[in-house]
Assembly symmetry: D2
Homo-oligomer: 326 residues x 4
């Protein structure tokens, strides 16, 4: 299902080498100011071009074709299209019989019985994260004075990101990284016990982002090694402020009024320039191959704005759901 | 929303100190053998009684009141009730004005404007994981020869679980742990790109379990430090078997036919016997308090069967969804 | 799926001749007064006992086992159970091979491959409308000063209900009827264009009630014969009041502030005392049969309160959804 | 929510006078042949141009921008766009202060606080039924040898459609009609008791179509006047064929293997050429007005193919859901 959200819902569509990728955002309240310029900063943050990113350059100009009238949202579904322009499908023809290691080529072929658009990963391409970023821009507008900030705090095991990228370029091998996201100014009481816990909802959304392999809230995996007397955050006042924040701003699945903190593990880009072995469909044997096409050496560089976007989608949905209780 | 699943759906209800907790399982196919004895092993695995677990002892006898006829599922919703018998509400009266650190007491009071059943955590109690375990038993039956096995591989930072528990008892402080779950014999092609990735669905379900603060698939957070040439799992044959399994059995959100592996971080039980400080609602000041009631020193001991259960729920749902494509 | 609603959700379960039927109501706000006495009037209205209704007499005492604490809703799922006491399963044994005309016996056997609980219609029994009525009581409380009133305006083609029933008893044949429902004091603006139109949502809910075969809003089927200049309701003031109400209070799927009016067609009870022919599974031939068991001659008598209930469920959901826009 | 379906899901978007209307179809299996030519017949059937239809002429050429590769569905979301070309927004400027009787102008203005795109009804326009028709084409392909046929059997109370249209043109007043839909070759066992009864699902979808005010299955409202011994359809053989079909092919909400039959009441087009009275927002008084723009005198002429389309959407969803049980 290419949809997320209960009240504030996103639907995404398109393929890496099709004409267009895009999204519908349904359930957005009317009367919110929205123009193309609102999207530029976040789209720019996701773009390639820096060292360690792909040489595929897309204009990524949003075309708002519904749901906005006189620069305000109307309450009807908002549809935004992005053209795919700089695609070179020929790069992928040779890969049809040699599924790339770490990629979804093999499983997509099986799942869709060979009918999937295999070019550039088709619908599974990271290109669709552009749609997530665009929806996130609108979600952030709804969230007003709730601030979401994600950044890459570690790449290839190195806290010096630039040095890590330089080394990856030198070694011509892809690397991963850790993205940390912080949300401030959240009210107390968003989220539910059990299935709609804030952790459940955020994790669901964050694992939608390709290359994510782990998530932890607050002290996360370190909490498993801590004693209760240390991990518990002492409540200090009637606003629920706590002396420490090992819980990462969530108790029992519900926001507690402190900063929400989580970290996300990004695996190294599957498309490394290194020679690799894979099974060849025609020869039915393992063979060396090298991934062609234009790829990011460190996709993690481009992930923070996507993490912000899906986090914003979840909290915009929670804000609208929460308004019900008032 | 106290519901999970698209086709195979669970709804849970009840409070720690109410008369009954229970569940509905809707969407279960007809004709599956089911009797009370099927539940005993997993319910026993979740039970307290061992060193480091609470002294609250419940019989936990499932009462199947709908959806089963002549020991077979009928296709109608299956409802199972569990009586709460060994409850001592008096323990909790004194806590109304002193929200326990690390617990949801404070946020529940705010979220529900003081109307929540505060006794024993009310609806947010770990007691409701009994309902998850019961549903998991049915899900496992549907999954036939797909095997799900979770175990506690680490407690309080110690890989020797018994030693860790002994130390926690000696120190009278609660501890956490790491649960690892492995699923074997999964077919290729379950899950979807983006929002319904297997990681999204499993993480959603696993974060429903109280005390879970992190999850990672395959190499997980270690993947962030690896190079692509190392992390990528080489496909070795037409069945998709890979030489390594850093991806944990999932590519692009979709099962790849290898063993699915994930690890879950469990924080130390919030109810530690140690003295702690918390804000007192009456005095509006911080005061020392000690959590009364009967609690687990290491709740992580009882979590593996719950992790298995929610994993089984997700895969039973995916199995039913998958049958659509055939 | 035995569930209805987006925010205010009902789940129903149980069988006619099982131990219990019941419901979960999830998404109900906290702090609403609720006690067993609240249910008595509507449950009584649904009860049998009058001329033309079945001699099966159930106590129908609601047992609220979760979601209510100190006579107020807590915000957690509300679960209500009803015991089945006056059941005579022996009546149904002879029917296993002779599917009753007009009943679901035949299709349930096929759909569930013979595993369904066939006694008294099993999960498909009209007995489960008791759960709808109970949920409706809570929904009506939420709706405050919005008033929902349904009544039987016609039975067996006769506007004199008593005379119609007397004739049915004399002829020993079942009859149907028309239920009209009116909702007053609805605000302007509930419902959505297209799939979540108020007509779509109400029709969806009303056709959940066994024996319903038609629904029409406002002038309904008569509108098909009218000219636009006659059918259009002239808006007379800033509150949207209209000079006529051919649209039944809905324009473009959205409430317009006038009285909502719809009518529902109820077919005659399938279990007529008359001899009928049906296919016999054993002989594989048509044979005469007579429906045993205790049945209503005019089930339509008991339907108005059920129509009110499902209408209240829909509007409670719309009210909670609507609060989002504010 | 601009979405319909559980497994086979449609999302619609766009406004009457925006650049584009369109749809996403998510959950469509891979490998189904699909090209632009497949859409021509049904799109043509919906088109205006005949006597009694609007003079707005759109090319309605579908642009498939995702989900289809080499003329086969890929399993990814299918997105189809239609350009709006022949629009004259100037016609609607004068209507801003005079909500048209029978239209949604007044309620949309209230619901969306004046931010809705009011031109030509905006997102509520009948133009979006084009998206339903396009989705219906794909649904019909999935349904293979299940045949859905809807036709206008009555217009303005006259069974001679041509005569009725001629009279409406002469009188310069809009008229309604009755559409009957028949579905043959349906298997036994689709649909569920209660909330997902076939009647509930079809009625939900059919009331999504603008101007629909009633629906009845089988004998429908006439059933209310019949005796049980007459209404019950005698089962004649092991295939479930019945001697009569008063139930319209559905028992207990579930298909019974006989022809499915329902009728839909279409109100007269709200935009009649006649002078009408309405409240004027500026003068706050009732005033005469005449609807400008280009409109259908008998929108019912164009509805049958839309009824077929939404019926196909529901049955395609049920077919995919049903495959789960096998």
């Amino acid at each position: 299902m290419n949809s997320l959200g209960r009240i504030f819902r996103i639907h995404i569509f398109g393929e890496s080498h099709g004409p267009i990728v895009g999204l519908i955002l349904d359930g957005c309240p009317s009367g919110i100011s929205l123009s193309i310029a609102d999207f530029f900063i976040d789209i720019q943050r996701r773009k390639s071009g820096a060292a360690g990113t792909t040489s595929r350059l897309e204009e990524d100009m949003p075309d708002i074709i519904s749901g906005v009238f006189n620069d305000k949202t109307t309450g009807a579904p908002i549809t935004i299209l992005f053209k795919n322009t700089d695609k070179r499908s020929v790069d992928y023809e040779s890969l049809r019989n040699t599924p790339r290691p770490g990629h979804a080529d093999f499983v997509l072929d099986k799942k869709f019985k060979g009918f999937n658009d295999y070019r550039g990963g088709g619908h599974s391409s990271g290109r669709l994260t552009l749609c997530l970023v665009a929806a996130g821009v609108i979600a952030k507008k709804i969230l007003n004075n709730i601030f979401i900030k994600a950044e890459l705090i570690n790449a290839g095991g190195n806290e010096n990101i630039e040095a890590a990228i330089a080394k990856a370029i030198e070694q011509q091998d892809s690397i991963g990284g850790i993205v940390e996201c912080r949300v401030s100014n959240l009210p107390i009481g968003w989220g539910d016990p059990f299935f709609d816990s804030v952790e459940s909802m955020i994790a669901h959304a964050v694992f939608s982002i390709p290359a994510v392999k782990g998530i932890e809230f607050g002290s996360g995996f370190k909490a498993a090694d801590m004693k209760g007397s240390v991990h518990n955050d002492a409540i200090t006042n009637s606003l629920g402020h706590t002396a420490t924040n090992h819980s990462g701003g969530i108790n029992g699945g519900i926001t507690n009024g402190n900063e929400l903190v989580f970290r996300v593990a990004i695996k190294p880009t599957s498309s490394t320039p290194q020679m690799q072995n894979t099974w060849n469909k025609v020869s039915d044997a393992m063979e060396p191959m090298q991934v062609k096409g234009r790829h990011d050496l460190c996709i993690a560089l481009r992930v923070p704005v996507v993490v912000e976007a899906v986090t914003a989608l979840i909290f915009a949905d929670l804000m609208l759901l929460q308004s019900i209780d008032k």
